[in-house]
Subunit: 125 residues, 2 copies
DNA sequence: TTTCGATATGTTTATTTTTGCATATCGATA
DNA sequence: TATCGATATGCAAAAATAAACATATCGAAA
């Protein structure tokens, strides 16, 4: 550790968030919703996904509604009732959206990590 | 516009934030502080920088204090009093930190934009 | 030695976000 | 047709953030 920074650099953690909005700054897609949509499709249930991610159902429901309002068509295939109460999965469009965001992250994640590594390295010398 | 998404894609704006924290999740550096530090150094004044960026002095002062507390040494060279009230610039370490974050952004910005462009393109076909 | 504007900081008030609570709906299955 | 658990949604409570307000301090220059 050659520089003054050296001491603390190992305690620094990287965070980043990518999100999309319309011109009214309404968040229409982002890391949180992306993760949530993936998990809903995997679990087949909004409630199960919320429980696992630690978000309230109320909040998630409201957020996802905003995305659909923006696009004007459903991303979620919701079913109420039945012995198990109901279930939710993604529509074709929902899946496409998630997949496109997957690709987005594949494109940027490693580069951001690389940028961070260089940042630390630069402060170290 | 071949897909259902087509209609709305042109209204989508990209946003992202990169920040660093310690293990207690205290924000120790990020896009906001980066911008602020640059402007303080440029203007030679915290107040002037706050006014220009639209942040309150109180808030900025508190935030910057946190960074210095984390690193354990000053990033800002502050002078009080004098005919013009005082001024603030960056210490050598402050400049190094800003410069390293500049490099970080140079590394990632274009890639993120590229990822976004691909995202839109993918939804368009 | 008075002045003036920026820095310094505690306290309080507003705003914004989230959470929590309550209650209604739905419908396959027992 | 009664049940059960997830979806649907309004509303109030609370928690987290930010803005405002109020002073105090500092020190070069007039």
């Amino acid at each position: 550790m050659e520089t003054k920074f050296g001491e603390r650099l190992k305690d620094i953690r990287l965070h980043y968030k990518i999100w999309l909005s319309d011109d009214k700054e309404t968040g229409i897609m982002g890391d949180g919703k992306w993760q949530m949509l993936k998990l809903i499709d995997e679990k087949g249930s909004m409630k199960a996904a919320c429980d696992e991610l630690g978000y309230t159902y109320r909040r998630t429901w409201g957020n996802l509604k905003k995305i659909e309002k923006f696009f004007g068509f459903p991303l979620l295939e919701k079913q109420r009732g039945g012995i198990d109460g109901g279930h939710t999965t993604l529509t074709e469009e929902g899946k496409r959206l998630v997949k496109a965001f997957d690709t987005f992250h594949d494109t940027v994640d490693s580069r951001i990590q690389q940028g961070f590594d260089r940042f630390i390295q630069e402060l170290n010398q």
